[in-house]
Subunit: 116 residues, 4 copies
């Protein structure tokens, strides 16, 4: 589905509740951070095998999906706040990363895996 259309739905949800008045960049960034923590919490104290196991655990999958949903709802809200097109945000960052991490220098290297 078109990401800009999804963003439109997200903003409609917000506007139907008059929540735009509370949406400011600082609290949206803070909320993204809190949601990422809730996603991360699912894996707290889990070793590699247990982490892998969550992929085939229906309750775990449900939680992961919901927390990812929160992140994928807040992110376009934040884009909207700055007038950013989500597609453009992704494509421009992939472009920056292409230059920062050229295939020939980073292939198979864990050190360069960090995309930031």
């Amino acid at each position: 589905m078109d990401i800009e259309e999804l963003q439109k739905k997200v903003i409609e949800f917000r506007d139907a509740r008059d929540w735009g008045q509370y949406h400011n960049p600082k609290d949206l960034a803070l909320s993204l951070s809190l949601e990422a923590s809730e996603l991360l919490e699912i894996f707290q104290w889990k070793d590699a095998q247990e982490v892998e196991g969550i992929k085939s655990d229906s309750e775990g999958r449900k939680r992961v999906k919901e927390e990812l949903g929160d992140i994928l709802i807040y992110a376009p809200n934040m884009c909207h706040e700055f007038g950013f097109d989500p597609s453009e945000v992704i494509l421009e960052k992939l472009d920056i990363n292409e230059k920062k991490y050229p295939v020939e220098k980073t292939k198979g290297s864990a050190k360069k895996c960090t995309q930031s």
Copy 2:
């Protein structure tokens, strides 16, 4: 642009570097959390007026765009790890939120603004 097509580009970027071997749900969630922190850091010690000012500051906008880009790159990577369709993740969570936060009960209330 189609979000599944964007996800495909994100995975192609990853695969070109053989980074799939490092991608496990725990480290991807951890990475999402770190990127959200980098976004949040832009607003550290900023009061409401300064936060608003970042919207029209070219350097601030650039940083916000890049950090949002990292989040919007890691999130589809995480979806991929679980075989989730990003559109579905968003639409299902909007659906859950519709039931959790019915318009008539939450309109204009800051308390219910949290979408989690």
Copy 3:
């Protein structure tokens, strides 16, 4: 009270439950991050005045105290993992910060407020 004595109590609590086996630096850092998020959540969507109001709200104070408690319990656990003396950790960082942020250059400047 002596911080090393407090650390001893924290480790005794852990050992009484055989939790040392789960304590590894990555999950302890992850846990510190989750606890910091729970503390932060108390202030989500709150404006400057509401944030100030929490200082005199008994329920808010209780939550802040408990979340700070979690951070102040995990931090000495993490120190223990590396054989660090908590006093030394604090004093050495204050020393580094003294050099990084000399009084004459940073006095009253928000930009330098970040102690990292």
Copy 4:
């Protein structure tokens, strides 16, 4: 060393720079979260063996110590903001946890390891 004396040093550092004016509970909690992320970043993409290896790596130990220092500096700053005695914060939370996680029910169980 006495934790209240350490807190006094932390506040003196702050006051020498007139940074108290920027210290509000929301930004302090936000800062604690950012510092916890910087600590966590040290372990990003690291497997269990690599994480263990950091304990005997001098550069890794230095980074961990500094990031723990930041957390152990911000936490008493936050306590100060609410007039909390750091010792009391720790002891009261240990007490709560004693009741929440009785030894006989939680011994050796990873599930109950979360102290929050």
